[in-house]
C-alpha cells in the first residue's frame, strides 16, 4: 500500500524544498511553520492492463457488454481525449491506444465497416499526425489516417449538429458524425477530477455556441472548485447537456486513471520527498539543474517537451457515463487527495513547464495565469487552501513568448485586450464575441494548428474564482512587464514576495505550499 498524502510542517530539520519554476526548478527554504502539502505516493499500477481493459469492456457498469452493442452495418464512432491530457504525455503505449485497439478488435470480429475515430479536441488546436499517432498507436494510425481518423472541427457548419437546448436554455451542439452514430465509444484519460464524466462528449465534441454556456465568467466564479464536480456550476451545466445528448446518441464511456509517477527515471527526484533524496537523487538534481541552466533556450525546451511520463493505470472502468465516473473520481482521490486542516493566509506553489495547452509548444504569460490562478488554485475540495483576501505567491519566469502558430489569438489578446483591462466581465462583454467569430482565427483553427480565437478568453476566465477570492497575487522571478500586464506583481525572491504580501496579510502570515507536480488535490477541512 502506498503512503497517503502528507502535510509537512517546516521545522529546523526540514531540508530545502523543491519548487518548480517553468523550465527549471530550485530549492527553497520556507519560513518555519510553513505547511507543505505532498500528494500520496504513487499507487501501484494495474499489473495486466490488457486484461483489465477486456474485463471493463465485457463487464461494464450500467450497460450491456460492448460486444453486445456492436452489430454489422452499424455506424461506430470512437472518440478519444486529445493531447492536453495526461501531462506530461505518457510513455508509449498510450492507454488510449490499448483501449482503442481492443474496441477495434471487437468491432472487426462483428464485421463492422463504418468506423471513424475522432479526437475530442473541442476548440484546442488540431493535433499533428505525429501527435495523433503517439496517442492511437501505429497500427490504428496506419489503418485509419487521414480519412477516418481526424481532429474534431468545431467550426465546420456541415459537421456540427444541434441536438437541442437544456431546460436552462443551453445549446447542445456536437460533432455530426458522433451525433448520428449508432454507438459512440468515448476513450478517456483522467488526470484531474475536473475531467471525464459528462464533460467528455459535451465539451470535447462541442462548438463555441455550446461551450459559451459554461465557459464564462459567471459560471467559473461559481465553480468552487471546478475539481469538485459536486460544487461546480460548470459541471452542473455539463450534466444537463449530457442528459440531453444521451437521448440522441448511445454513449459507451471508457474512463481510465493514472498513478502519479509523473517524471521518468532521470528526473525521479522530482517525484520524491526531499528528505528522502538519496545521494544519487542529489547528484541528479545538481546535474539536471546545472545542465538546464547552461542549455540554450531551444534545447532546454526540447528536452522538457520531450519528457514522457511513466504513468501506470490505476483503474479502467467502462459503461454508462454516470455509472463509470464515480469510480474514476474515487481513483483520482485515492491518488491525489491530501487532507489539510484549515486555510492559510498565503498560498505558495511553483508552476511547472507544462499545462494542458502548451504540449509541444510555448507557455505564454496567459497560460501561466491560467495554470496558476485556474488549475493550481482550484486544486482543492471543500475550501481554497488560502483564505479569502489572502495572497497567492507563485514561481514562474513568465517570459513574454508566444507560439505564433499555436497561439495567434493569444498574442492579440495580450497586446490588445489586456493592455486595456484585466477585468473578466468587461473582457467577456466587450471582446469575446469579436475574437470568437474572427474569420482569420477560425481559418487558422481549421486549417493550421492554432487554438480557437476565443481560447485565450477561456484561459482568462479560468482564473475568475481566484481573482475574486484573492487579495493579491505575486509571482517570484517573473518578468515584471508581463506580470504587470496580467495584473500581478513580480518579486525577485520569496523574502521579497512575503515582504510585499505583508501589506495584505501582515508580517507573520500562515503559509501553505502545494508541492506539485505530481498533482495534489487538497481536501481542506
Amino acid at each position: 500500500m502506498s503512503r497517503p498524502g502528507l502535510v509537512l510542517e517546516v521545522d529546523e530539520r526540514t531540508p530545502p524544498v523543491l519548487v518548480h519554476e517553468g523550465e527549471g526548478f530550485r530549492l527553497e527554504r520556507f519560513p518555519l511553520g510553513t505547511r507543505v502539502v505532498y500528494p500520496p505516493d504513487p499507487l501501484p499500477g494495474i499489473r495486466d492492463v490488457e486484461a483489465a481493459i477486456r474485463d471493463a469492456l465485457l463487464n461494464p457498469l450500467g450497460s450491456e457488454p460492448l460486444p453486445e452493442l456492436l452489430y454489422p452495418g452499424m455506424r461506430l464512432t470512437i472518440v478519444f481525449d486529445d493531447l492536453s491530457i495526461p501531462l506530461p504525455p505518457m510513455q508509449a503505449p498510450d492507454i488510449r491506444q490499448r483501449i482503442i485497439e481492443q474496441v477495434l478488435e471487437m468491432a472487426a470480429a462483428k464485421g463492422i465497416d463504418d468506423v471513424e475515430l475522432i479526437a475530442a479536441n473541442s476548440l484546442h488546436r488540431r493535433m499533428t499526425a505525429a501527435e495523433i499517432k503517439h496517442i492511437v498507436g501505429e497500427r490504428v494510425f496506419a489503418s485509419f489516417w487521414p480519412e477516418r481518423l481526424r481532429n474534431h472541427d468545431a467550426e465546420d457548419p456541415d459537421d456540427m449538429m444541434l441536438l437541442g437546448r437544456t431546460k436552462h436554455g443551453e445549446h447542445v451542439e456536437i460533432n455530426r458524425r458522433a451525433a448520428e452514430s449508432d454507438l459512440l465509444v468515448y476513450v478517456n484519460v483522467n488526470l484531474v477530477a475536473m475531467s471525464g464524466g459528462s464533460k467528455s462528449v459535451a465539451v470535447g465534441l462541442a462548438s463555441y455556441r455550446s461551450l459559451r454556456h459554461h465557459h464564462n465568467v459567471d459560471t467559473l466564479r461559481h465553480s468552487r472548485s471546478f475539481n469538485d464536480p459536486e460544487h461546480s456550476a460548470m459541471h452542473h451545466s455539463y450534466d444537463r447537456m449530457h442528459e440531453l445528448l444521451i437521448k440522441h446518441v448511445r454513449v459507451f464511456t471508457i474512463e481510465t486513471t493514472m498513478n502519479n509517477e509523473t517524471f521518468p527515471a532521470q528526473f525521479s527526484f522530482l517525484n520524491k520527498r526531499e528528505w528522502e533524496w538519496s545521494l544519487r537523487d542529489q547528484g541528479a538534481f545538481l546535474a539536471a539543474k546545472g545542465a538546464n541552466e547552461l542549455a540554450p533556450a531551444k534545447v532546454r525546451r526540447r528536452i522538457w517537451q520531450g519528457v514522457r511520463a511513466p504513468y501506470r493505470p490505476t483503474g479502467v472502468h467502462a459503461g454508462a457515463t454516470t455509472e463509470v465516473h464515480p469510480h474514476t473520481l474515487a481513483n483520482i482521490h485515492r491518488q491525489q487527495l491530501t487532507e489539510v486542516h484549515g486555510q492559510s493566509d498565503v498560498l505558495l506553489f511553483g508552476l511547472p513547464y507544462i499545462c494542458p495547452y502548451n504540449v509541444n509548444s510555448v507557455m505564454n504569460p496567459i497560460l501561466v495565469f491560467s495554470l496558476g490562478l485556474g488549475y493550481y488554485f482550484n486544486m482543492y475540495r471543500g475550501a481554497p487552501l488560502v483564505r479569502e483576501g489572502g495572497v497567492l505567491i507563485m514561481y514562474h519566469p513568465m517570459p513574454v513568448e508566444f507560439h505564433p502558430v499555436h497561439h495567434p489569438s493569444y498574442i492579440d489578446f495580450y497586446e490588445e485586450v489586456l493592455a486595456q483591462t484585466t477585468d473578466q466581465a468587461t473582457i467577456e462583454s466587450k471582446f469575446e464575441e469579436q475574437y470568437a467569430t474572427d474569420p482569420w482565427y477560425i481559418h487558422l483553427y481549421r486549417s493550421s494548428h492554432a487554438y480557437h480565437g476565443v481560447h485565450p478568453f477561456y484561459m482568462w476566465y479560468w482564473g475568475a474564482h481566484a481573482m475574486e477570492h484573492l487579495g493579491d497575487v505575486i509571482c517570484v522571478g517573473a518578468n515584471r512587464r508581463a506580470a504587470a500586464r496580467l495584473g500581478m506583481r513580480a518579486a525577485s525572491t520569496l523574502a521579497d514576495a512575503l515582504e510585499m504580501a505583508s501589506d495584505t496579510v501582515g508580517h507573520s502570515p500562515s503559509i501553505s505550499y502545494l508541492h506539485s507536480p505530481p498533482l495534489t488535490l487538497a481536501d481542506v477541512r
Binding site: 502528507l6 509537512l8 521545522d11 530539520r13 526531499e274 528528505w275 528522502e276 533524496w277 545538481l286 546545472g290
Partner: protein, 347 residues
Amino acid sequence: MGLASDVRLLRRGRDWRGRATVPRSAEPWAPRRESRQFPTAWARTPLARAARVVALDGVLRTLAWSQTRPEVYGTDLLSDVRGPVVFVSNHSSHLDTPLILGSLPPYLRRWTAVGAAADYFFDARWRAIGTALIFNAFPVERHGQDRGGRRGPEGGAAPSRSGRSGRGAVRRGGGTSLDTASALVVDGWNLLLFPEATRSQDGWMRRFRLGTAQLCCQHGIGAVPIAVRGSYAAMPRGRNWPRSGRPTVVVRYGRPLYPGPGESMRDFSARLERAVVRLWAEQDVGWWESMRGSASDDVPAAASANKQSANKQVAAARGPDAASWRRIWEASRPLPPAQRRRRIWPR
C-alpha cells in the same frame, strides 16, 4: 544561482552521507515500544544488601553529612511504624534521597526501596546498576514527564516533546511501575517515592501525582510525609556536589497517614500533599502555627480562618507568584542554621 550555492543549499541539514533528518511532522507513526524494565531484584539479595550497608551507610551518608549540615526532626514519630509504608517527600535535589535514607532509623532504611526515574537513572546500564545497588532503587516510568516545569491547563504536565500528555502518560507508564511497587510492598518493603515525579525546577513544590496515593489505597498501607528544606539551595539541578560551606538542610518527618475507609485516592493524595506542605511550613512558622493552618475543616468556628491559613501554607510551598528568577532567588536562599529554639506558643 551558481552550482556552489546549489550545493550549499542541498547540503543543508544533510550528513556526510547525504542523508537528511526526517522532519518531525513527517516521522512515521509507530506504536509505542513497551519498555523493558531493568531488573532490580538482585539488588535486594543478601549480598547486595551487605554491599549497600557499606556504600550507603558507610560512604554516601558520611559524605552527605560531611558536606551539608542536616537537621532531622520527627524521627520519634516513626518509632511505631512497622512496614511496609511509603515515605513521601517533596523533591528538589539529588541530595534528597541520601538525606532521607541517611536519616531513617536503620531498621527502616535497610528495608526501603527507592522509586527512581527510569528515563534518567536507568537509561545506561552502568548508571542503572549503580543506582539499584546503592539506593535499592527500582525504575519508575514517567513518560511525557514535563521537565520544563510548565503546567497544562488542568494542572497536569504540559505535553512533552513526544506529544504525550503527562497525565495520560502517568496512567500508562504507571502501570508497570505500579506493578513493581506493588510487588515490593507485598514482599514487605518500604518505599520512598517522590510524587512530584521530578526534581523541582525552581526549588518550590509542585502538585502531587496520584500514583503514590493509588498504591496506598490499593494495599491499605500508610504513608509517611516528609519535607526536605534547603536541599535546593545546597545542591540544585545542574550541580553534582553540594555547595561549599556545609549548607543547612532540614529533613522533617510527619505522623504516618492511612487511607480512611471509603477515602478515594484523589482525596488521600490531597491529604498527603497537605501534610507535606504543613511540614514545609513548619520550618518557617513553627509546629503550632503550621498545625493551626492545616487543622481540619470539621471545626466550623475555625474553618474559615483555617482555610485561609492552609491556603497560605500551600501558596508558601508553591513559591512566590513572581518571575522565574525571583522564585529561584528565593528558593536558593540558604537556610539559617538552627541555633535558637523556636517558640511553640505565639506571643
